[in-house]
Symmetry: C2
Subunit: 222 residues, 2 copies
Amino acid sequence: MARPRDIDAHRQRLSAATWAVLAQGGLTGLTVRAVAERAGCTTGLVMHTFADKAALLRHARTLLHQRTAEGAEQAEATATDPRSRLHAVLTQAVTVTDEKREEARVWIAYTAAAVADPELAELHRTHNRAFLARIDRLLSDALPHLADDVRADAAVTLVALVEGLNTLAALDPTTYHTDTQHRAVDDILTRLAAAHPHEHASGPAPLDPGPPGPTALGDQLP
Amino acid sequence: MARPRDIDAHRQRLSAATWAVLAQGGLTGLTVRAVAERAGCTTGLVMHTFADKAALLRHARTLLHQRTAEGAEQAEATATDPRSRLHAVLTQAVTVTDEKREEARVWIAYTAAAVADPELAELHRTHNRAFLARIDRLLSDALPHLADDVRADAAVTLVALVEGLNTLAALDPTTYHTDTQHRAVDDILTRLAAAHPHEHASGPAPLDPGPPGPTALGDQLP
DNA sequence: ATGTTACGGTAACGCTCGTTACGTTAACGT
DNA sequence: ACGTTAACGTAACGAGCGTTACCGTAACAT
């Protein structure tokens, strides 16, 4: 035996290099050579660590999702009551930091790659549905007065809003500022905390604010 | 003189071919040869019609925006009252047809390309801000009771929602169905038609529905 | 009818890509 | 200390890319 290697550490390092390359050069700038140079090694190590370029892409994609899931998990664990948990997870998802700025650009690249790559598309669906389920769960805890179908639609709305805000902010941070994104999320949550306008499609809106009061979410702004 | 050509017609045909290639093969599948084959010509015509590949991309991008702007213009012209105008433009933007399905995939490709291409990023900002301004104008006509800052945030929310819904629907049409998207847009509009929860940060919501009644937008569902 | 003109096709260039075959070298058991 | 073994680098291959130079040819003016 000779020269053992920590292959998982290599995979992680190369995945991080893949993110960096994607963030800087976009999808067309992603080459095995660029990843190797970014990781401080040669293409030899890359091809010995992954079967091919597609495997590298998939691994980096999965690791990226794990990182975002950890962020949501932490936000969820930090908050105390159900409403602030929902608020914390969504706010964290649209808060722009140096780390998240890169993440958004990488996210866009993977979205585009998934259009033509069925395996990446399947990964996208799995991960996105997990996030959607998380928001739905947080919604049912935070706003139990919402009917199931209304809540499902609200979850879709919130997930799409986060997706859209991050995409637009990545390309136009001037127009889509962090403050604007926070206000957008807070506004939706505040309106959801109020009763649904035509609940069960019966009569007009009952306008029932719910037990904790309608301004509970809005008051949590920084 | 000899052999005149309609260069604008060629540009349009090649741009349409570019969309088709982008929709099918994604950003990495976009090659001059693929565009030429799709358009039924050779790379020679492509390079005689455009200075280089980037010019072809930019032209197709601008033409795509013009097409989407026309769609919004038609929806706006068809509707009669201010509220249905806003509703029609947003609904049309998230309605999935064969044409729009391709459009969404092309849109994603351009978004990813803009991450690494400053010129495409500038085009994106210009066009997106134009759409944002349109929504803001339609909002001020449809819901005049909204304060300027509230309306601006609402416009950002609606644009981001449309962007997010289209992106997610392109990759997961099962989870993000056309009906779901319509309900998401309608729901936001209905909630916006109600008064803002903490208007001017003064007291609680005045809950003033406005002249045409609070359910005017919700009732316009198909 | 015919010469002229430029439109569009052909084919090749240089380059870079993903991938592979091979050589080098570093770390372990003995 | 040293041979062995596998990890990693090196270098080259074939394919495909954007781009260019060149040529055939179709359409107009005369």
